[in-house]
């Protein structure tokens, strides 16, 4: 792969009930990303937006953000899915040799619709949807299957919630920052056994943008470029009944491919900081395993060891992760933006000192059907 760098990032604060329109949110982050990169829109020749007609409540939802993302007068396209996939498409367009600099935007205003109903629409209309499945109930099935198989405890899941909500206190963009104990999580209301109120991510509004550039363009950028070293995505079976819910084959496959590109043999040792898509507390444990940070079934033990806390060997979600802000479709791109801040040493109170290699991860679909893994570094290949 030719060298491509991320040279600008921009995020809104994540919150519920942001009063801006889709376009106003996207304009805010597009501006921020341009300012961050020290660029004007004239320097951008390619735009990738991210929208979803269900979440946005209109057909061809990308129409709403065309001007705000800078699409006027330049090539533009639109992905529907997690922001990590939009960024991947932006990367491919940058690698094609047709464009120099690509802006990738994504926004979410889930507070405007009915999230449970919208997630229900991801289920097959003929078989599963009619049963009323949604993100929480389906994830509860996965959590139960996973925990039962490997003896992972509810307390171990709770530790993820405690860690990430505490990390969020250092992140000015985070939606829910909390100082809580394992006991608080265990005593929070049961939503769908074994998932409790404090095991789940909030419904957040917000937007994020990044700028990808060719090597030549990146060398001229204002900020130290963060190089894309490896990236891959993979999709598992659709129906939950067809998947082994206790581990993520798709994540393992995507991670191995991304690691191969990046020359990573021992991810736990070679990666300095990871931002993963922890929509539910149990997911972070499963993703540890899929990402090869530990063996299958050992995610609970890993969090228990404290190695993924701030100050540990491999801090995971210093930003507070998705548990502390969950703007759907934005959350994966926010992981990339956070990884970039870490690699530039600009992560403020959530900075992992001396981070050289970072991992960002996004998911799409029910129970993490599609995974996308990014390996970034401030060192060139």
């Amino acid at each position: 792969m030719d060298k491509v760098a991320i040279i600008g990032v921009g995020q809104t604060r994540y919150e519920r009930g942001n009063t801006k329109s889709f376009a106003e949110l996207v304009y805010e982050v597009t501006r921020k990303a341009l300012d961050d990169a020290g660029l004007e829109l004239d320097n951008i020749d390619n735009v990738v937006t991210t929208t979803n007609d269900f979440y946005d409540g209109r057909t061809i939802a990308c129409m709403a953000v065309a001007e705000a993302s800078g699409s006027y007068g330049r090539d533009a396209t639109n992905v529907e899915g997690d922001g990590t996939l939009s960024a991947f498409y932006g990367l491919m367009r940058t690698l094609s040799g047709v464009y120099d600099a690509t802006i990738v935007t994504t926004h979410c205003k889930m507070s405007e619709g009915n999230p449970r109903k919208l997630f229900n629409q991801a289920f097959d209309p003929i078989y599963d949807r009619i049963l009323g499945m949604d993100a929480i109930s389906s994830s509860a099935l996965q959590a139960r299957a996973y925990m039962d198989r490997y003896g992972v405890t509810e307390e171990q899941c709770a530790m993820v919630s405690v860690k990430n909500h505490a990390n969020a206190r250092n992140n000015p963009y985070a939606h829910v920052a909390l100082e809580i104990t394992i006991d608080d999580v265990m005593k929070s209301p049961m939503l769908a056994e074994p998932i409790k109120r404090l095991d789940i991510s909030p419904i957040s509004d917000g937007a994020c943008a990044i700028i990808l550039a060719t090597e030549e363009r990146a060398r001229k950028s204002a900020k130290k470029p963060v190089w894309v070293r490896g990236v891959a995505h993979c999709t598992d079976a659709y129906r939950l009944g067809e998947r082994d819910l206790t581990y993520s084959a798709a994540l393992e496959t995507a991670a191995k491919k991304a690691y191969k590109m990046a020359g990573i043999r021992n991810p736990f040792k070679q990666i300095d900081v990871a931002e993963v898509y922890d929509a539910f507390s149990y997911m972070e444990l499963m993703w540890y395993e899929g990402l090869g940070f530990c063996d299958r079934g050992k995610g609970g033990k890993l969090v228990e060891s404290g190695k993924t806390q701030m100050g540990g060997e491999l801090p995971v979600n210093p930003s507070g992760g998705v548990l502390s802000a969950h703007p759907v479709q934005v959350a994966g791109l926010a992981r990339i933006a956070e990884a970039v801040l870490q690699l530039r040493g600009e992560a403020g109170g959530r900075q992992v000192p001396g981070a050289k290699t970072a991992l960002a991860h996004g998911i799409t679909g029910i129970c993490g059907q599609t995974h996308c893994v990014w390996v970034l570094s401030n060192e060139e290949a």
Binding site: Y27, E40, E67, S111, L118, P125
Partner: protein, 158 residues
């Protein structure tokens, strides 16, 4: 399984039921001001790009051409000309109500005086022979206004 007896005998269709998805769209800072102009002042507001001078209606934050933030509000009044019209005769389902729309219905694009873009609305005339591109029109406001685009009842030819 013998196909003739099984799958080929009857092909089924299921419906998505009566459920509706209600959204609460945030109008944002620019469209809110526009709607408040309709509700409180019975006037139509546009916004001007201070860089290229283009006047947009409906107003929005950014001029796509210059990628500049716009803050210069322009009162466009209530009159303009018909840029294009169509008399809709196909009673498709109204996404707001789930029921067929009432036809005939005239959709128009109005170029308000002083604006560079058009506003979409309805015209109170459904006989296409009595409508012409370029005709002068005026907005008719409702007596009770709630801060939506329907605070304008329709446009009428003058």
């Amino acid at each position: 399984m013998n196909e003739k007896e099984g799958s080929d005998r009857e092909l089924l269709e299921i419906t998505s039921g009566e459920a509706e998805h209600v959204y609460y769209w945030h109008c944002g800072h620019y469209v809110s001001k526009f709607l408040l102009g309709l509700r409180d002042k019975k006037t139509i507001l546009g916004i001007k790009c201070s860089r290229c001078g283009r006047v947009y209606v409906p107003p929005r934050e950014v001029c796509g051409r210059c990628f500049a933030t716009m803050n210069e509000w322009v009162d466009l009044g209530t009159e303009g000309t018909i840029y294009a019209f169509t008399v809709v005769k196909l009673p498709y389902i109204d996404p707001n109500t789930g029921k067929p729309i009432k036809v005939p219905r005239t959709d128009i694009y109005v170029k308000l005086e002083g604006a560079d873009t058009c506003l979409m609305h309805w015209l109170d005339e459904t006989d296409e022979k009595k409508i012409s591109v370029g005709a002068k029109v005026r907005a008719v406001f409702k007596e009770h206004r709630r801060g939506t685009i329907h605070d304008i009842e329709c446009f009428t030819q003058i």
